[in-house]
Symmetry: C2
Subunit: 204 residues, 2 copies
Amino acid sequence: MAKKKPVEADVSTEEKIKEAARKVFTQKGFAATRTRDIAEEAGLNLALLNYYFRSKQALFDIVMMEKLQQLFGNLYPILDEEITTLERKVEMVVHAYIDMLSSNPDLPLFVLSEIRADPERFGQRIQAGKILRDSYFVKQLRERRPDMHPIQFVMSLMGMTLFPFIGRPVLQAIGSLSAKEYQALMEERRTLIPKWVGAILKVK
Amino acid sequence: MAKKKPVEADVSTEEKIKEAARKVFTQKGFAATRTRDIAEEAGLNLALLNYYFRSKQALFDIVMMEKLQQLFGNLYPILDEEITTLERKVEMVVHAYIDMLSSNPDLPLFVLSEIRADPERFGQRIQAGKILRDSYFVKQLRERRPDMHPIQFVMSLMGMTLFPFIGRPVLQAIGSLSAKEYQALMEERRTLIPKWVGAILKVK
DNA sequence: GTCTATAACCTGATAGAC
DNA sequence: GTCTATCAGGTTATAGAC
């Protein structure tokens, strides 16, 4: 009743463009994407991109901020829970990533590539400090393993979780795996990684 | 004595161009690189690129093949040694990668991005099958852990080793680390990863 | 708001002098 | 072999009709 237009089952033009931009930018990156590709993907005219968003760069920035949030935004809330154990946090992080990346396999390679292409624009955007300074996770980790730098642990956890998606073409070829088989291995990693990380926490 | 020119301490123009191309392509990727960038980096004129190499794409292909070899070429020889143990092979792989990536930190993100951008051109170029079908490494791994798919192990090993370089800007920010501190952590990983991988091999 | 047409600019590649 | 000058084509962005 409060809507501007009573019947509006279809998405707005603006949203169509954003959705097309998400797809094309994530797949090809900023430099290799032409605004024409996005317009075509959206089934719209090129001029509308500049009507709704001022420029290719402005549209990209919007998509990029979303993707940064998507890739890193869920991390802190999980890691700062006070009641969950370290092992449970690892389980939750791995689970959340494999869920999300199964529908967005290109996300990590896209985000990390674009951060490197323009570090000062996007690098700072991650409120990076707070994850390792303030979180309950780090407190627990320091308590359990005062001998190791927390980031060493984070590197390995993220590496084990994200790398299979970043290096998928190569890994899939190395293993002579079908898409279905690869997906099954990702499912298996939900339990495999927490188990392995548990072993890492105990060693020495 | 057999040289065409008696005095030639300086590098050839062709090699200057290739060296500049290595640097710029690896840093910015194919799409974001302009042939003018390469010419400028080489301290030469743009026309010379097309004189020595036919096109941007042809020059890129040469660099890309080199970089593929650099990233994956040393893997099989190490993994197919008959006399070394599984643990020793892991040590050697980790050591070789950390050595090489310390002077070429952009290499993995570059190669993996470009493979994704053009999978049919470069994907096949890695004689991928042989690493996991034929190598002595896989034989040892199957023997030790018949319950797990070898690729699961490879994913984790490569992830722990390569990801710190792929995600460096983010990880360095997360940890509030200087370049020097980051480098020290990479050195520490030479022994840390083999130790952790050893724990993974034993768990359950 | 949406389109077509076109401006303004950039990029890869080449022609031709030296 | 190396340079300057320039072409041809493509790309972002805008003007203006509807």
